[in-house]
């Protein structure tokens, strides 16, 4: 073999080997990059679909709430008002003391029931939140809870309050309602504190704290529909929700909505 022939084989061989290796690596990078982009696209589509689905579910839920609210206000409320008037007439027209006393007591109880029903009707109606504003709507809801459930409820407001938009305020309101509802239903608290903090720069922090029985985080974190609903709503707000609970000490639910979204 002549020297120049050996050098030629060396040069061409080395070039081919390196070119082959280089091409292979570039091909692999491009292939994987395309797969990665495709996967990201698929994930994005799945997320969008999931969000739309959740939004539809919540819209259906809101419509149901509205329907119940109107039913309570227009039908049951009206019927109870008529019953109240009739009881009033019975009390006025009766001459028996026992009937008068019973009618008066029934009238008072009925009055309370009508007030509670009206409150429920209001808090179920999405227009109530947009009309009253987030903080006032929460106050009203707490008023009803205080009167109906014998739980001390306090709203702590801080920062400069501002309008977050009807849809977002309704979502936040529903999260708070869900948290309070869960606490009352499962933890039997004696006090619930809600902290609504409008932060500088546009962020919003909400914290719902109760002194109920709490729960074991490892057992219940994945299961509850209420918790899931809160997470879904927080997701739609593009916020972060954190739940921390200690058994027999209570639960804290913290919602953080960043400035950009808020």
């Amino acid at each position: 073999m002549s020297n120049s022939y050996a050098v030629l084989i060396f040069v061409i061989g080395t070039l081919i080997m390196m070119l082959f290796a280089f091409t292979l690596v570039i091909f692999l990078i491009i292939h994987k990059k395309k797969r990665y982009e495709h996967l990201l696209e698929k994930q994005q589509m799945a997320n969008d679909y999931q969000t739309q689905l959740l939004q539809s579910q919540l819209e259906v839920q809101e419509q149901s709430f509205k329907y119940f609210s109107e039913e309570i206000h227009d039908n049951i409320g009206q019927l109870l008002s008529i019953v109240k008037m009739q009881l009033y007439n019975i009390r006025n027209n009766s001459k028996e003391q026992e009937t008068i006393t019973k009618a008066t007591e029934s009238n008072e109880l009925l009055g309370k029931a009508i007030t509670d029903l009206r409150n429920i009707s209001h808090t179920l109606n999405s227009a109530f939140v947009s009309n009253a504003g987030l903080a006032d709507a929460i106050e009203k809801d707490l008023e009803y809870i205080r009167s109906a459930k014998d739980v001390s409820c306090t709203l702590h407001r801080s920062g400069e309050e501002r309008d977050l938009g009807n849809e977002r305020e309704l979502l936040i309101f529903r999260i708070i309602q869900e948290a309070i509802g869960n606490a009352i239903k499962h933890a039997s608290p004696t006090a619930i504190d809600i902290y609504l903090e409008y932060r500088q720069g546009g962020a919003l922090n909400v914290m719902i704290q109760d002194n109920g029985s709490g729960f074991d985080m490892s057992e219940k974190m994945n299961g509850g529909i209420g918790l899931n609903n809160m997470h879904v709503r927080a997701g739609l707000l593009k916020g972060i929700i954190e739940v921390s609970s200690i058994k027999d000490r209570g639960t804290i639910i913290a919602l953080e909505i960043t400035a950009e979204v808020a």
């Binding site: 020297n3 061989g13 080997m17 290796a21 280089f22 292979l24 994987k32």
Partner: protein, 213 residues
Amino acid sequence: MMHFFDAVYSITLLFCILSGLFVYKRLNASANVIFILVLLAGLTEYTGNVFSFFKINKAPLYHIYSLLEITLMSVFFLMTIKKYKKKYAIICFSFWLTICIINAQCFQPITKFNSYMLITESFVIIIMSLYALYAILSSDVVNVFRDNSFWIWTVVLLFWSGTFFYWAYIELFYKEGIKFIKLITYFQIVINILFYLGIGAVFLRYPGKLKTK
């Protein structure tokens, strides 16, 4: 000129060792294997320089280093490739060891430069690297940029592809004293420099995902 290339090569090797030392606590088991390999390479090269200075034959040093190098590379591939089975590594290693023994007995004794051993070593490592890349191509790993093992496989494949024909012809070139020998040697040193720069750069990327297991 040769001194300049040698100096740059020594500095690069030192950079690679220091990079490994700098992130040593963050390296995982498979990266540690590569780090040990780099340490051994450094030790061999610097000892080789001392041997050259005292005019001692350094061929036995490279025989030992080659044996350790292929062993560590086999361990590295075994640790990082999901599909790679122990038996494949043992087959590759045994194949190479048999060739080495035959070579040491019949062609290049321990006192002679082990270029034939290095050809087979290149061949075995290229095959293992190609298998590693095939494994990652068919795996579920999608973001290869974050996978440090991918970059090590790439650097190893490019290095051994670039040196394969050098080991095949170096003895002939030196024997015949061809006029391009210096140029070819510079080219090989540059490839070595790029290899250790690459490995050093991958070390500095840690902590990252190395194992595909």
